[in-house]
């Protein structure tokens, strides 16, 4: 497949993790006290891989060229709107929806990138932010006929859908892949464990693997090399007689298409869209994911996206009574103290945890979780010099 052995191992590891995610994310038996840490339910698993795609795409721009875009959520949103309109007008099959979402987001990012890339540094960040905020405001106000405004869009029973047959009475339109419904799940009970295998999740995971493969190829290609050259010294690149603009624009459009793909998949999974997914905090979130995981590395953004989405869903579910349960074995005074200390960081306060974690990563671990893994790996290596098997998970891209 044109990959080096190391990259191939990495791809295989990610593929295995994706296939067995329903097992890996469900380590605790049903009904046990730890069951709330299970992430093996379809909705969350889908989000994990979809935002993985989003972050992989963002990393192609930020990780390789160093251009920090604060407006990528706009492309995700535009892709979502394109996908939902395909579902309303053409067919509930997800294939056209996903394809059109990538194309529309690509076109939109071509326009935005063409303008924004005239400037670099902080100006570029502000320009992308301005475009994203504009799209968000327009989606909420003037473009309401297209975007549904505050209510958003869902497929309705009486939409035209020219390729689909007429729905039977009482039937609701559902996203499907040639008849295989996206929300269809197969549940397997083993002892106390219940594992859910969801069609939509596996579709998203396959798309994610393809996206990941393409990103490896881009990282290892001469084109990727050029993008790194832009990051390290654009001026020198200009002096050698090369124009950096086509390369950065290409990277921008590719990452915009990845964002559109993620948006299209989101719609394919839950068939609804609202303007809030274009708000600038959503753009900030993908920045967080990429940095947290490790910008410029292959696997980092996927790890970061998985980590943040997992935490968002799991940590924010913990409430006071669960804490009381956990610390019940301690003497009363210490228990109360611990609960008061921990409580601000969980449940609704999970953004606080995220913010602190993010600051710590930027301050101490600019390479993100991947660099952290590498440091730990090196620590072990020093102890056992004989064992120098390369660890696929922590292989840096640079």
């Amino acid at each position: 497949m044109g990959l080096t052995k190391k990259d191939f191992t990495l791809l295989i590891i990610v593929a295995i993790l994706c296939v067995f995610a329903p097992f890996i994310l469900n380590p605790f038996p049903e009904g046990s006290a730890m069951a709330q840490f299970n992430a093996g339910y379809p909705d969350l698993m889908q989000r994990l891989v979809i935002f993985g795609i989003f972050a992989i795409g963002f990393n192609i721009l930020f990780g390789l060229t160093g251009y920090l875009s604060f407006g990528h959520a706009a492309f995700l949103g535009v892709g979502s709107y394109a996908a939902i309109w395909m579902m309303k007008l053409l067919t509930m099959n997800v294939i056209p929806a996903i394809i059109i979402s990538v194309l529309v987001a690509g076109l939109f990012s071509l326009l935005v990138g063409w303008i924004s890339l005239r400037r670099s540094g902080i100006y570029f960040s502000i320009l992308t932010l301005a475009f994203a905020q504009m799209s968000y405001s327009l989606a909420y106000s003037v473009l309401t006929p297209i975007t549904g405004g505050e209510t958003g869009l869902q497929p309705k029973v009486n939409d035209p859908r020219i390729l689909d047959g007429v729905l039977a009475a009482g039937e609701t339109p559902r996203a499907n892949l040639f008849g295989l419904q996206m929300n269809q799940s197969y549940e397997m009970a083993v002892g106390n464990w219940v594992f859910t295998f969801n069609a939509g999740y596996y579709l998203a995971a396959i798309v994610m693997l393809i996206a990941f493969y393409i990103s490896i190829r881009i990282f290892r290609s001469p084109f990727g090399m050029m993008l790194r050259a832009v990051k390290s010294n654009q001026q020198r690149l200009n002096y050698t007689g090369l124009n950096a603009k086509p390369y950065t624009l290409a990277a921008f459009v590719i990452s915009g298409m990845y964002a559109g793909l993620a948006g299209g998949l989101l719609v394919a999974m839950d068939t609804q869209v609202g303007a809030e997914r274009m708000f600038w905090t959503a753009s900030g979130e993908v920045v967080l994911m990429t940095i947290l995981g490790g910008a410029g590395t292959l696997i980092g953004p996927v790890l970061g996206a998985g980590f943040i989405k997992y935490m968002e869903n799991i940590v924010s579910k913990i409430n006071k009574s669960i804490l009381e349960q956990w610390f019940a074995f301690m003497p009363d005074g210490i228990e109360d103290l611990l609960i008061t200390l921990v409580y601000p960081f969980i449940g609704k306060g999970w953004h606080l945890t995220l913010g602190i974690l993010f600051m710590l990563v930027v301050i101490f671990l600019p390479g993100g979780l991947v660099e952290g893994g590498q440091r730990i790996g090196r620590l072990f290596k020093r102890k056992k010099p004989a064992d120098d098997k390369p660890d696929g998970k922590t292989t840096p891209a640079e």
Binding site: G66, L68, I115, R118, R119, S120, G121, I122, Y123, S125, I126, L127, L129, A130, F131, Q133, M134, S137, L138, Y140, S141, V142, L143, Q234, W280, T281, G284, V287, I291, P344, G349, H351, L352, L354, G355, I356, F358, M359, V362, I363, P366
Partner: protein, 343 residues
């Protein structure tokens, strides 16, 4: 004509807030070369200083009032603010009524302290790192500050009224010879504008007419040379950070009666303030102030009914649109200096 004057007035208060925040951002950028994404959070903390002070002033204890009886004939329990015990009821009421203006005195030391702590504790370590890292770490800090405020004050906006004396509206129409009631404008917004003008004037005067300001300006132009002359420029820049934090905080304090503060108000203002700074020209103080007022007024003109009829939705995007046009036609911004953040 009266409509135009009204829109200019309407733009002034928002423009004042933009100008004050953008001024602080530019001060920090011009002196320390740091892009501070947490500046909106400082604005928000300032607003919550006002909330805190008005809560402290109304702290009460329960007293049994023998003169009043409830319907059962028992003596009535009344909540008496501690402030009555100290100053008596009339003075106490006045003080509580003037809580927001009084918060200025309370906010200055708090904000300067927070500014010092931020600069010494965090930002100091980021001078040598790329701008992207500075943006990211201050972005993280903004989230943390915002969540801390949310934890203590809740997510809902907290109404904090202006003093009674400023609660009405001023009839400009009658004064300028138009029909009465065509141009009415709340007093507090006038106060806000005047306050912003004073603060901006004070900052400029401080930089222009004091020795300290002269050294700071010299440091902005060429930090290394000033350092070589044996001046501890870092210390002065730290003080400037404190001042910038105080400016943002005061902008927040005085804004509370206009818009009830909530924990994400800073972020809402920050995005626009950055646009303002970029339009004004990175590193140019007068550019930041000019662009702040200009964009504030433009925004209010864009929300006029006539404009909205021809260009629906323009009020939502006008600022961003202007920013894009300016950045593409005048890359340095309105009054940007040569060589600042140009790459």
């Amino acid at each position: 004509m009266d409509a135009i004057i009204l829109q200019i007035l309407n733009g002034l208060d928002k423009g004042s807030a933009y100008a004050l925040i953008a001024l602080g951002l530019t001060l920090i950028f011009g002196t320390l070369g740091v892009v501070n994404f947490a500046h909106g959070a400082l604005f928000m903390i300032g607003a919550f200083c006002a909330v805190t002070l008005s809560r402290i002033l109304t702290l009460s204890h329960t007293v049994i009032d023998e003169t009043q009886k409830d319907f059962l004939g028992n003596p009535l329990k009344v909540e008496v603010p501690y402030i009555y015990d100290i100053f008596g009821q009339t003075t106490g009421d006045v003080i509580i009524d003037w809580a927001v203006p009084l918060s200025i005195l309370f906010a200055i030391p708090v904000m300067v302290g927070i500014g010092f702590a931020m600069e010494r504790g965090l930002i100091k370590h980021f001078y040598k790192r790329p701008h992207a890292d500075q943006i990211l770490v201050t972005f993280g800090l903004a989230i943390v500050l915002q969540e801390i405020i949310k934890y203590f004050y809740g997510a809902n906006p907290i109404p904090t009224p202006a003093p009674d004396a400023f609660r009405g509206s001023f009839d400009f129409g009658a004064m300028l010879g138009f029909d009465p009631n065509t141009i009415i404008y709340p007093y507090w917004r006038l106060v806000y504008f005047a306050f912003a003008a004073v603060i901006i004037g004070a900052v400029f005067a401080f930089l222009q007419f004091t020795t300290f300001g002269m050294v700071v300006r010299a440091g902005m132009a060429d930090r290394e040379t000033v350092g070589l002359l044996g001046i501890n420029i870092d210390k002065r820049f730290t003080i400037m950070f404190g001042i910038a934090a105080a400016v943002a905080g005061l902008a927040g304090v005085m804004y509370t009666p206009i818009n009830s503060p909530n924990y994400h108000m800073g972020m809402d203002f920050l995005v626009l303030s950055f646009v303002v700074v970029v339009v004004g020209g990175m590193g140019s103080l007068s550019g930041a102030v000019l662009a702040g007022f200009l964009l504030g007024i433009l925004e209010s003109f864009a929300s006029m009914a006539i404009v909205l009829e021809t260009l629906p939705g323009i009020n939502q995007i006008i600022i961003y649109l202007v920013a894009i046009i300016i950045l593409l036609t005048r890359p340095r911004g309105l009054m940007g200096r040569k060589g600042v953040m140009e790459e």
